[in-house]
């Protein structure tokens, strides 16, 4: 009976964690070089982990980043807020011969896709995460 309780507790925790992760979304970065010895990078990071990772980042690094990006923080924050209203939108698309660049929102994520012969890059970031990152960077601006 005790084992059943522990198993149920674990299962519930995993279920809650899965629901939380699903709700917050996943940051996805895929880079593929289609050539001999080309690199293939596939990175999936739960968006819920980003604020935690930012908290663990050395303060001086965060301050540096915050100072550099400071003039654009209000724009990023506002853009994230606005993009949340448009979960499915093709914002920019450039097709140049075999090259293809697309910036769009899809399922509440900001997606950037670049395809060119021999290389493709796919980045997808939950829009809410952009807002979280800009908020955390704002908090780290020296003297703010």
């Amino acid at each position: 009976m005790l084992l059943a309780k522990i198993a149920l507790g674990l299962a519930s925790t995993v279920a809650f964690a899965a629901v939380y992760t699903f709700r917050e979304g996943v940051i996805r970065v895929d880079v593929d070089e289609f050539r001999a010895g080309g690199s293939h990078v596939h990175l999936w990071v739960p968006a819920a982990a980003v604020p935690i990772a930012l908290h663990c980042t050395p303060r001086n690094h965060l301050e540096n980043a915050a100072v550099k990006i400071q003039p654009w923080i209000p724009t990023i924050r506002q853009l994230a807020k606005e993009l949340e209203k448009y979960p499915e939108a093709n914002l920019v698309e450039v097709v140049d011969g075999t090259d293809h660049v697309q910036i769009r929102t899809h399922a509440g994520k900001l997606q950037i896709d670049v395809h060119e012969p021999g290389e493709s890059v796919h980045v997808a970031v939950p829009i809410a995460t952009l807002e979280d990152i800009s908020s955390q960077l704002t908090e780290n601006i020296p003297g703010a």
Partner: protein, 200 residues
């Protein structure tokens, strides 16, 4: 014990459903708003056939522009350098156009170019047709700007263009084509409608 387990599982399921339902509700709500979209499409008919499509929600542009502070753009307004206006008093010129009746203001017909500037149905129309002999230089430019958008653009002051006010005025407009450029090697189209894609 069994009842407590059932209760726990029930609460877990209910919590998951509430989380998913709130996400769905947010999605449905965002899809039903009356959005106005500004579209830009550039098609190059060279051998590579470059195509550029930009679709921007007007509300997004209206709300994001004021946050950008770069060079001449501040608080959604662009500073116009009067030194480069050749001493033309734009406000006086616009006021004269605003109060004038509909009609053709400028008509130039030459072997090189046909130019027509007119006011018609509350819109300022500019049409430039290039008649140059070289095929690749031929172009047809049509610009149609609602007068109230021009008024809003120049509402900030003498040395400023109020882009946010212009966009706001544009959002009140129905579906409309603003700019069309057709030449042998490219076509450019800027228009506004309520679709979030530039398929047409």
């Amino acid at each position: 014990m069994f009842n407590r387990t059932k209760l726990f599982v029930g609460v877990s399921l209910l919590s998951s459903m509430v989380v998913l339902a709130s996400a769905s509700a947010a999605f449905a709500q965002s899809g039903s708003s009356k959005d106005r979209w500004l579209h830009v499409r550039v098609i190059n008919s060279d051998h590579k056939g470059e195509i550029v499509r930009v679709n921007i929600p007007l509300e997004l542009a209206e709300n994001v522009l004021p946050t950008i502070s770069k060079e001449r753009l501040h608080n959604g307004k662009v500073n116009i350098d009067q030194a480069h206006m050749n001493d033309v008093d734009l406000h006086a010129l616009l006021n004269a156009i605003r109060t004038a009746k509909d009609g053709e203001y400028v008509t130039v017909q030459s072997s090189d170019q046909d130019v027509r500037v007119a006011k018609e149905g509350g819109r300022l129309l500019v049409h430039v047709k290039d008649n140059k002999s070289s095929k690749s230089n031929k172009s047809d430019v049509d610009i149609k700007i609602p007068m109230h958008v021009i008024d809003a653009l120049f509402s900030a002051g003498k040395d400023e263009l109020d882009l946010v006010a212009g966009l706001h005025a544009l959002a009140l407009q129905g579906d409309t084509e603003l700019v069309s450029v057709k030449s042998e090697d490219s076509t450019v189209r800027v228009w506004m409608d309520s679709k979030n894609s530039s398929d047409n």
